[in-house]
Assembly symmetry: C2
Homo-oligomer: 291 residues x 2
Amino acid sequence: MNFNDKYGAYLNEFNAVLTEFCDSIDCRPDVLRDSLKYSLELGGKRIRPVLCLATADLLGLERRKVLKFALAIELIHTYSLIHDDLPEMDNDDFRRGKPSNHKVFGVGNAVLAGDGLLNTAYSILLKECRKGTEYISAAEFVCDCAGIYGMIAGQSADLLHENDNSFNEPTLNFIYENKTGKLLTAPVVVPAILSGGRCFAELKSFGKDLGALFQITDDILDIEGEFSTLGKSIGKDKTEGKYTSVALYGLDGAKLRADVLAERCSAILEGIDGDREFLIKLVQFVRTRNK
Amino acid sequence: MNFNDKYGAYLNEFNAVLTEFCDSIDCRPDVLRDSLKYSLELGGKRIRPVLCLATADLLGLERRKVLKFALAIELIHTYSLIHDDLPEMDNDDFRRGKPSNHKVFGVGNAVLAGDGLLNTAYSILLKECRKGTEYISAAEFVCDCAGIYGMIAGQSADLLHENDNSFNEPTLNFIYENKTGKLLTAPVVVPAILSGGRCFAELKSFGKDLGALFQITDDILDIEGEFSTLGKSIGKDKTEGKYTSVALYGLDGAKLRADVLAERCSAILEGIDGDREFLIKLVQFVRTRNK
């Protein structure tokens, strides 16, 4: 099976779980249910769930064991986008080619939709905890990645350093490692934890590097991407004085860095026994993506 | 020991845990740590933790078993206040006599502080899950109370029905049961679950009624309270066309309803074996509070 077909197969497997979950949401009032489903059903690459399923395959772990973790991580990712798009945060009017949650439902409802998705992610993870202590460890890892020593720290630093002329490489690395890296690390480390800790350290490093790669290609796409493909506003970073790898290294410097990170990701995968082909191609996909 | 002394003793016991927790927060950047601690350290009645400890005593459960649940619930309560005070939600500039989180740190940071507290509550609850399945059940109960079928549903309905001339009693009940009631139910039901389900149904009803009582006295205080005692803006409900029990029943009608609810709470407690005295007085405290 080629890369695109395999990506599609993982996507279908995850989307079935997501659709079942979305269909099960019947909270009141309607605006709460609709705003939750709106953002969950916007589509997107679903790269975190795909990473989670592919890493389970790499480690020889049954994929069904990680499906609910993949769902919880995607809910956390979706909540973070809703809150990040808010006017006083990143102020994005578009997400995946459609109006952002707050443009459709208003800021108040968007705050609540984000809160609701985060809380629901933990509802899913707590249910998994009944299956054994390794599931509790995996849930705790996701929680750490999402929290105040993880993604939220990265978002806070990102907000702090807008229009900051004194930015430097350590700050940039802190933001990329936490804001983007932690929630890309969770889906590859969860299967490691559920496999008794197999390749834990390697996959943790892989997630961190993939996160930096993902964020740098995001910065590059903000310059070179097209709205019609990307589905979100272009050129915002520069207009808003945003602290990015392109601002720090220049466009060519950022591309070079992306290449180095992609190579490091592949090298880590080469050191793991198993069918690594799909994940190695996924790294290239992230490096060369246009959306 | 009289009521005030006993309340103070519970408060001290909880505050020791809270202080230890606040001292342990060392996330970066500073603004994230400071904004989390600012709202946690604003004080307040801490009625949810006190309820949790007192209910453990009522059921003969060791209080140490519920302390981390009390902490997690207080974090969830604090996050909900931060998000609820935001300009596009309830738009409150003051909380507990001090500027609201977003007035000090800005809206973006306040959103993140709320997200951070919610996530940290689950970090605490997940750690409890290792202690056994009844702890997982208790954590799941808290999660349900806080989530899209609980508090968040209530807040969403509250936001929806601002300036709504067609409001009615069922809607008001839905808001009070979910927005306020669910997070007052959690601290009394957690000890029941950790006691093997003892008095589960009674304490769940008690929490629901106490929640309605608490919200109605809140509505009354919005008319009759004083800023200096209450620490938050007065008369806001009417100015903002807010849907409250006073708007529905009139001031005297709301007071009568509060009396009925207080009696119902006491009657439930009378049916439970154990030292009920403190909780019965706590109900009166909620009924007659001036802050």
